[in-house]
Symmetry: C2
Subunit: 699 residues, 2 copies
């Protein structure tokens, strides 16, 4: 074993060790949360309903998806990386197994998230009677379990796949497994959660005027289940996917460079940076605390900044010690910095102390149409800084790394994505914190823990919404950079295959080539259609659930009046949300995959290159637009409810509620699913590139 080969194995082993450290941290945090006191019977009862509902949904979802995954694995086995009759069956087996491995890892991460979230919600709720600090810690540490589990398993999975197969195409297979799970988990969870949320609000708040989380509302448990399956499990699968994809893209390009230059320094560097990112997150998570008088928003944000600084310093040190290229360090630092800028911009458009929220609240005074018009407008505007930021960071990373030689430029972009996602452990912790404290608020209401506790959980919940904007900015930006990098991986794959069969190598995708342009137009239309399918799914499903809620209020005597001992049939609503979500999630996911295959079949590799690019561009715009507009409407409603512009129950408030209802599927169903959708398109394209190099109509 040469010295350089020793190096990469060294970093792989370090990655595995740090992954295990992350699992250790997760386990410790889990134990800590589980050991927090809980005694309230009513809360335990409701908590159990939520837990069972979430587990039932997850079981059914995984059952549906496992069928899909098995079929996909068989298709992969037959066709990828090259049709099996070409006589390399081992490659096909590796690919299919890696794919399944990816789906299983993703599934486990989701399952872990649900398990801890449905404990942490109870603990956080009960702790709220003792003060904001213990309540916050239960919520945050619950989220951190998820963060550590997801990032630990993604680093572990990637490392194991490369260590065992030594095959970067298999890595793309693993990543595709993670993506296909994420596509459906995010979409399914997103449909579930918004179905329940909208229906509960529509009948409860709007029609009957009963408070949020009122136990009389038959949809209230489904709503809380939704927070878990959509915002915890779905989000976890999504970020597991982004993280794996960014590492996979970087590794594919690093390996291509190393292959040409000899040695393994670039692959080593990717593992080293990823391991440091995870280490920084572990430190950030474990040292996180909040004073009794501190603000939860500040606590969450300062953890994020601490993690960023640790990452920056440690990677600089590693660059010195292991003699990595400084230019690549700069690329990854730029990624991190631009992610931060994008987060700030998203924050501006959604924060209730800034102009957009105030303007939308003011416009709402003229009725719901103006809530929508002004919200849509600010949402559209919010895309500009992020689009420019992503473009500039890609440009800068490319230009900084290009002088290092062939292949480094695209590698630089992928390392910017790795840099942006280095703090993903922290992002997930903050993101999972949100639904946990949201649930806790519901439990406080249902368990009658008093106004003081309600106030505390309200403020924790609101902090969750605010930091969400920053973390969403990160994850959208990182997805953008990752997919740009995957475009590079796509070319690597194509040219590898082209060289084998003696075809001309691809040097780029010229927009003036009408096949590329055709792909560009087609690809750009996919994110709008995809998000429309999901939103129509929510729409249809919510109509079914509203009918069910009406039925229960009509048919169960004493329910509306809140007669003691009368409980609604919560599980019926959960069943509707579950079956509806499973029914609606499949077509949108399949449409995405088939559209990619059709374009490849029509126009070959050039059309696919255009398709991916159009998909990225329009996907980023719609993801940013929908996430930010949704967050803006949500916070506008909260701002009005806090007594501004007429306050609760005014005409303005009613208009703001309409905005919030529109914004819910925007920000929690369609918007974040687009991230996954563009990753899936890139991976499907990369994996099938070889086939469409030879089989196509007009390419």
């Amino acid at each position: 074993m040469s010295k350089l080969e020793f190096n990469v194995v060294f970093f792989e082993v370090v990655s595995i060790i740090i992954s295990i450290l992350a699992f250790g941290a997760a386990f410790w945090l889990y134990k800590w949360v589980a050991s927090q006191p809980s005694s309230n019977k009513r809360i335990a009862e409701v908590g159990k309903l939520i837990r069972n509902g979430a587990n039932t949904f997850l079981a059914k979802e995984y059952k549906t998806l496992s069928r899909f995954c098995v079929v996909a694995a068989i298709v992969i086995f037959i066709f990828l990386p090259s049709p099996i009759w070409n006589g390399h069956p081992l490659g096909n087996i590796l690919m299919a197994v890696s794919y399944l491995f990816g789906t299983v890892f993703s599934g486990i991460a989701g399952k872990v998230g649900i398990s801890i979230a449905t404990i942490a919600n109870i603990k956080s709720a009960e702790a709220s009677t003792k003060g904001i600090k213990p309540s916050f810690m239960s919520g945050f540490r619950g989220g951190a379990v998820m963060g550590m589990a997801v990032v630990g398993s993604s680093l572990l999975g990637v490392t194991l796949v490369l260590l065992l197969t030594d095959n970067t195409t298999a890595l793309l297979g693993f990543s595709f497994g993670a993506s296909s799970m994420a596509l459906f988990a995010k979409a399914g969870g997103g449909i579930f959660t918004k179905t329940a949320d909208i229906s509960a609000d529509l009948v409860g708040k709007v029609e009957l005027g009963i408070p949020e989380d009122d136990p009389r509302n038959p949809a209230v448990i489904a709503d809380n289940v939704g927070d878990n399956v959509g915002d915890v499990a779905g989000m976890g699968a999504d970020l597991f996917d982004s993280n794996v994809a960014s590492m996979a893209a970087a590794l594919v390009m690093a390996a291509a460079i190393d292959k040409v230059k000899g040695g393994t320094i670039n692959v080593s560097m990717v593992f080293c940076y990823a391991a440091i990112g995870l280490l920084a997150s572990i430190i950030g998570v474990l040292t996180a605390k909040m004073d009794e008088k501190g603000s939860p928003t500040k606590a969450l944000n300062s953890n994020t900044y601490v993690t960023m600084i640790i990452f920056g310093v440690l990677t600089a040190l590693a660059t010195v010690v292991f003699r990595f290229e400084w230019r690549i360090w700069f690329a990854s630092a730029i990624g991190l910095f631009v992610g931060f800028i994008i987060g700030i911009a998203s924050d501006y458009f959604t924060d209730d102390t800034k102009k957009p929220v105030h303007e939308v609240a003011k416009a709402s005074g003229s009725g719901p149409a103006f809530t929508i018009l002004s919200g849509v407008s600010y949402g559209l505007m919010s895309t500009l800084p992020s689009m420019i930021g992503i473009g500039i960071s890609a440009l800068a990373a490319y230009k900084i790394c290009a002088p290092l030689g062939e292949g480094y430029a695209m590698f630089g972009i992928s390392m910017a994505a790795v840099g942006m996602l280095s703090i993903v452990g922290m992002i997930i912790s903050n993101d999972a914190y949100g639904p946990i404290v949201d649930n806790a608020r519901g439990l406080v209401e249902m368990g009658n823990l008093g106004d003081k506790a309600l106030e505390i959980t309200d403020s924790l919940d609101s902090a969750g919404n605010t930091v969400k904007a920053v973390t969403k900015g990160f994850s959208i930006g990182a997805a953008g950079l990752t997919v740009i990098a995957l475009l590079g991986a796509f070319i690597s794959e194509v040219n590898g295959a082209a060289a084998e069969i003696g075809k001309e190598l691809i040097t780029g995708f010229d927009i003036l080539n009408p096949t590329v342009f055709f792909g560009l137009l087609f690809g750009a239309a996919i994110p709008p259609v995809f998000s429309a399918m999901l939103m129509l799914g929510v729409d249809r499903n919510a109509q079914r659930m509203v009918d069910e809620i009406h039925r229960q209020f009509r048919e169960i005597p004493g329910l509306k009046e809140g007669k003691k001992g009368v409980v609604p049939e919560y599980e019926k609503c959960i069943a509707i949300a579950t079956s509806g979500a499973l029914k609606e999630l499949v077509p949108a996911g399949l449409m995405t995959i088939f559209a990619t295959l059709i374009v490849g079949f029509i126009g070959g590799v050039q059309a696919i290159g255009g398709f991916i690019s159009g998909n990225i561009v329009s996907g980023l715009i719609f993801a940013l637009f929908m996430s930010n507009a949704g967050g803006l409407w949500d916070n506008t409603k909260k701002y009005v409810e806090a007594g501004n512009n007429g306050g609760k129950n005014s005409e303005t408030h009613r208009a703001a509620v309409v905005g919030d209802t529109v914004g819910d599927p925007f920000k929690d169903t369609a918007g974040p699913s687009i991230n996954t959708q563009i990753t899936v398109v890139s991976l499907v394209a990369s994996l099938t590139a070889t086939i469409f190099l030879t089989f196509n109509l007009f390419g």
Copy 2:
């Protein structure tokens, strides 16, 4: 003069003759409309108010724009086509004059449209007491005056510029003049009309429950003025611009081919096809008629089909006689055919007999949030067929024409755009018919002409809405193809300049070049921001006008009760709409132009290439989405008002009205302005290409 040179002059002379024929037809139609009987005093009075309001707005708008145009002309004179200190002042003078020429021609077309529209509305209103046929004919022939004037003057202008200057860059200057007027006219008119429309509806229909066009409503005249300045003058400027741009792009590329090959056959062909398109429209317009029992929708559509067939047959004949290339004929026929397909698709998503309208109406039963969610979803879905259609027609035109040799492929795409726009005379006639009969309906209501007349004008108005979907599909598709062709023109310009200064020629825009990708991301963000600025403009302006309406109802005694002799202060509302529109239109227009210049300055020609492409792709998506979603909501409201899903004044109706209010600025302000916005970006880029070839930061 060689034989071939004679040919192009021959076709230029033919084009001038047919343009004059079009003016003759317009004059005859104008006289016909003016000679129709009118006697009702009340209608004459209100008609005069509308006419004066429209003229006042137009005068103020032109005054504002003339300042802008003079400044722009001076800048052009100094810098374009190359800085004046380079020592070719004649070229700069030609360019600046062509630019001004373009703005003046566009302005005249708008003025003609307003003149006839504000006569035809009265005639159509009064004729409605005699039956649907005479009322329809007044409306249609009024619109046709506009159609003939716009297309005649665009063909005349283009021909004169090329005949007098023999300089295709000057042609781009002319086209830019038309575009910059269109940008502001469409945006300004769009803001005016929707400000008035929304405010009138909001206070009148929603708050007070008085009927549409009720004369007590202070905004009612402003609303009718808005139909004229937005939908007639603005739309005219828009289609004047598209038509000029498509011809200019085709001529630039035809001239480039002819220059290399010798002869003028390709330039001749463009003039020949454009002239035949105009001739076909003249025949279509003059032979249009409707039976007393016929449907106005059918009448409008069958005229369109007749025109298409005439164009197809005559161009085939011309191809035989003048030995043009058949492949190019096919390209233009494909353009026409795909335009038709796009129209059908738009029709599906907006027609009240199809599923989307029914589904949105059904969803509205759960409240306005669902009206919005389902409408947004179907609007997003509607983009897919058109995007694929545009992509495929460009691909097909390219592939069909590529075998003819260097340069023919892009020329083929531009001829597909010319084919798609060949029936533009008909499109404008149908489009201008809409606001005329909409106005007529208002006059019938205000003049108390009775229920029968109201029913007739209602059905004419509804037909206008339906055919609008088809014609809008055409104009968006044509804009898409034109701008793709302009990308070709851009390259021609750049390479012409590059050859002169000894720089490397540009062969394409590689998406993998991060400078191109940066441009792509930046360019894609412009249409959303542009439309957001316009919508916020409407929003702000409508809030001002609503305040004014409230004031009048509060302060003018007897107004609300409809006391005889009490009239509202209509002119105050008109003044608010006017000043607001002028204030709001400038920033959005300037943002577009400056963004293009900034990108060019940062990344040079490659960044601009990406910028144009990103702008086209996202511009098409947003134009299609907003136009179709807006049309869908409008027709859903009408569908509910016709007695479906609960009918008028039901909860469903109130929700549908919210959808319609959101849809109004979508479809009449933002959506159609994006067309112009993408043309302006392409032209600014083409014109400044030379400068950014040498002056830029990172290119």
